[in-house]
Symmetry: C2
Subunit: 198 residues, 2 copies
Amino acid sequence: MDNADQIRAAATQLFASVGYDGASLQAIAERVGVTKQTLLYHYPSKDALRRAVLDHVFAHFRERLPKMLDAVTSGHDRFEALTRELVHFFEADPDRARLLLRELLDKPDDMRRVLAENLRPWILLVAQYVRQGVTSGIIHADVDPEAYVLHVIVLVLANVAVRPVTHGVISAEATPDETHERQMQELFRLTRTALFNR
Amino acid sequence: MDNADQIRAAATQLFASVGYDGASLQAIAERVGVTKQTLLYHYPSKDALRRAVLDHVFAHFRERLPKMLDAVTSGHDRFEALTRELVHFFEADPDRARLLLRELLDKPDDMRRVLAENLRPWILLVAQYVRQGVTSGIIHADVDPEAYVLHVIVLVLANVAVRPVTHGVISAEATPDETHERQMQELFRLTRTALFNR
DNA sequence: CCTACCGATCGGTAGG
DNA sequence: CCTACCGATCGGTAGG
């Protein structure tokens, strides 16, 4: 991994944890062990670094898309497998979830375009699979396919992003990990039950 | 509304839209038409202003709590009424949702304490109502009550917060308002179907 | 002695 | 990739 990659990785972490404005170029450079000026050699502006970070997250997402779509051919466990792939993608690096959520809040206009390009085609495709499930009778007839798929994505994204906080809200004697595991189990149950006829 | 209240209101808007670090005291003061020094007279530091903003949101939430809990005595439409109260609370001022989501990302440790105090007792109470519904047979036996209630809150919060982006993701010819209405209708269907036996 | 401010400026740091 | 800087703006405080 060269310096440009290391800088992007450090920026991803810092943007995710303290936000774009909260992360100074100096702080990002220090994490990598280079000067701020070296950073600005690789990325000519802070905004260029932002775009590089975001592009990299979506590049990873597109890489996993075929695997995700393989999971959703037909039947009950197939849709759950898709949700699991989604959870796996964000839990593999929770900074992805926090970063995307921050971008959604910070740059709604930009993100509308980015998501229209990167997420919309995929949502429409999965929604078509949902419609096939309705036709074959295994899925509730009153589901709104596109809205449902978006809800699943939002729910996974938000739950992974706010995971550090969840524990204090519903836990009793359980550990933070157990609480999160419980939360994700209910996420699978909830999204499955809301979709399929029994 | 005196200057202190106006400053808090302006800070709420700016913190919600550009984040805590992105909102300068100068910009907040300018919105109200006072100097930055006047702001610092009312709130001795930026962090004090942050706490005042957050406290005010939770004060509003606690105000509406009795009404919310009235809604959840028993039966199908009662739980939906509770979700509608929650949606109403955040849609009445979407800045509340954006602000809370930002705080969850910016200050997870602080928010864990804040939510343990302000949200946890209420979640546990509603979860007890869910358990009663399980006993009486109207609610699915495999629901995780606390996790379910938290998912509903997270789903409402996230959907209101990212509303400006939703339209570009699933819409075709519909207006942004119609798309959001569709999204919220599916939210009600999803949370209802995941809870109740048919 | 208190309240609600003002114009000016402090030491540091931002992105570039 | 580094040294040496810039215009501007940051959160916070001075006396009156």
